[in-house]
Amino acid sequence: MKLFGRTLAILAISAAALFTASGLALAHHGAAAFDTDKMVTVKGAVTELVYMNPHVQVHWETKNEQGVLEKWQGELTAPNKLTRAGWNKNTLKPGDQITVSGNPNKNNPHTLWIRKLVGPEGNSLPLFED
């Protein structure tokens, strides 16, 4: 699949889901809030890395196929675990180009449980401690 700039690429997700209150708050109690049968890949520019418990949050913006900026967010594991994997609060900075793959939240398709994250230098960042 080709990705052009900030073009949004969606794999195996129905496009017409509505924005509702996110169920992401439930995520640290299990994966039930996310559709683990679906995987979405999105390319965009980081707006914020929130390095806090219980799960680190990544916020980014992506231009959709109509050229309109969309806000996306994703969830990683706990900051302590990411620190042990080599991260810190500055690992992703606003403006960094990232490619994120993850399972969409059942209530908010623009919220992902991130399973893979390619950083601004083109390498896949470690998402788990050993």
Binding site: S22, H28, G30, A32, N53, H55, N80, G86
Partner: protein
């Protein structure tokens, strides 16, 4: 990242070392493991159970249900845990999730974070990364209190059964905690025995024996496994500060 490089270097070294040792007739895989130091559990450990346990060990001690008394069965039916996806943050009655109650012993092992042993002449500290939980395990020879005050993590004494096995007995629990993440209940009469057996420098076997005449028909036993993490440091996790405010992410 630096850590990845270190890991890659270690793996490379391990492959090299293994190939060398394979050529030496006196060597075996078992002798490659460094011996456990004597009477010392100091360090950071992480539960790493074998793959065969992963279906249940993140939430409970055994694949099979423990044998419970009618009192415990009735209480267990009231538990609305968050493991199966049936109950969420709004509907669960998990005391840790809803109120940030201390997890209690032994439920603390079901939080997927490391713990650290710190040994002093009179007691051993166990520090769990999850929510700064600390247990003080007396090793000064005192007996278990016959009528202990009731606390979240209990009152603990420990003794070295041999040079690599540290046995901890804990009593004196309030009834506000669950035994595990599924919500199995216990009473104030619960007695938890943890037998920490350091099988080599890097591996710890934890045998649990949970007795509770009011809740369990017979002792509930299980064995968990932990690995030493020499490069790790415990970080900060605050349930009341971090978890209860996580809804902010919904905005």
């Amino acid at each position: 990242m630096a850590r990845t490089l270190t890991l890659a270097t270690a793996v490379t070294w391990l492959v090299w070392a293994t190939s060398i040792s394979a050529q030496a007739p006196a060597s075996s895989a078992a002798s490659a493991a460094a011996a456990a130091p004597k009477r010392d559990l100091t360090g950071v450990w992480m539960i790493r159970n074998p793959a065969g346990m992963r279906g249940y060990a993140g939430a409970t001690f055994t694949k099979e249900e423990p044998e419970m008394t009618p009192w415990a069965i009735a209480k267990y039916k009231e538990a609305k845990n968050t493991n199966g996806g049936q109950y969420d943050l709004e509907t669960t009655n998990d005391p840790v999730v809803t109120k940030c109650y201390p997890p209690g012993t032994p439920r603390v092992y079901f939080h997927p974070y490391p713990f650290e042993f710190i040994q002093t002449p009179k007691y051993v500290f166990m520090i769990y990364e999850y929510d700064h939980v600390i247990r003080r395990i007396y090793t000064d020879g005192r007996p278990l209190p016959p009528d202990p005050d009731l606390t979240w993590m209990g009152t603990s004494i420990g003794r070295w059964e041999n040079d690599t096995t540290f046995v901890v007995d804990t009593v004196g629990f309030n009834e506000k905690t669950w035994i595990d993440r599924l919500g199995h209940p216990h009473s104030t009469e619960m007695h938890v025995t943890e037998r920490f057996r350091r099988t080599d420098r890097d591996h710890l076997q934890i045998d649990f024996i949970i007795t509770d005449p009011k809740a369990l028909v017979k002792p509930w036993t299980s064995t968990f496994y932990a690995e030493l993490r020499p490069q790790w440091e415990l970080g900060e996790i605050s349930c009341s500060g971090d978890y209860l405010e996580f809804k902010a992410f919904e905005k």
